[in-house]
Symmetry: C2
Subunit: 211 residues, 2 copies
Amino acid sequence: MARASLTRDDVLDTAANLVKQHGPEALTMRKLAAELGTAVTSIYWHVGNRESLLDALVRRTVAELGEIRPAGRTPAERVVSVARILRRRLREHPHLVAMVHERGLTERMFLPAQQALVREVHAAGLRGARAAEAVRAVQFQVVGFVLVERNRERAPAQQPTEDRYDDPALARAFARPVDEERLFVRSVRALTQSLLDGEEAARKQEESARK
Amino acid sequence: MARASLTRDDVLDTAANLVKQHGPEALTMRKLAAELGTAVTSIYWHVGNRESLLDALVRRTVAELGEIRPAGRTPAERVVSVARILRRRLREHPHLVAMVHERGLTERMFLPAQQALVREVHAAGLRGARAAEAVRAVQFQVVGFVLVERNRERAPAQQPTEDRYDDPALARAFARPVDEERLFVRSVRALTQSLLDGEEAARKQEESARK
DNA sequence: ACCTGAACACCGTTCAAGT
DNA sequence: ACCTGAACACCGTTCAAGT
């Protein structure tokens, strides 16, 4: 791991590793310096301070995320596929969502997904403000779901909630751990269906009313 | 603000104020001691340490949250009303969701809402595993939405995303700030409708198939 | 241009000592 | 039973000094 001289990228790479493994709160300037084998103050020369180091890290990661290629036969299916790709990608970088949010880069991060979603929502016949609303609803749902998931994983074992319902199958279902992938797909599908079909139906009604 | 002697509740109250105003990360033992007019180490005698102080704080707040009374004529409307109540309540305690999650109290916190949702989902004809899934879908959506909202508020001004779509009304809609209340209600309504109606339809199909 | 150690102001926490 | 100050191990950051 010998190095000719310390570069900004060395710092970013090592910092990225620490964050990936133990989260951003575990990234201290002193540990990072130890890992790099330099004095703490050298880091400051290369990246300014802790906050701008994290900022650079986040921007680099966002830039690497790349585009989204939807799959599926219908617009609804393709919306679901975009959601799944987005979720998988966010899960590969478990700390990214929060870090991106804190730095006001959310809109930028979701631009590729947003563009893909706009295409599908257009294909389903939505336009203008209603199309924008549908796209945002899906975006909020996906990001929200991932945030909830992340929180659940970080969380210690949940206090079991000994709830008594007069529906034993439901009580058993609540006792089982959540199948998050399944719940996610079902939720997105349900939301999408409602957003697209509702609009589809309204559009047809309008058309027939015009005759 | 003179006090006979320091009590555990004094510590919790003052800590709650600090957290409410500046967030949990602003709660330092030293600032808290200054605010209380005692030595830092007194706090340790009353509450153990910083983590158990925050834990006690969260548990107290959760216990104070109270029950949820749904409103509306149909199960779907009442589900939406539960969601709105839950969202409003979470927004009154902006730091609570994250703190609750970190301490594994999520399930307990959402128990009142869960019970209300189970009743409505039952009223709509869902049972067992599918009822549980519907309840969880709504729960995930509400919590996720609030988390996204919170992140957006904390976030600095978003980099505007100069997107070029061939739909000027949509571009304008994206340029406007999000009407979160509206988006929230629409999303929950869309999801709920799909979850309940889909099930309703499936049930009717089954019934007619049995004849 | 790049790297260093010393120093400062902040943390949470422990501990022995007081009443 | 309750409160205290001193001390420890950790932070991020600045600065003057080196090459």
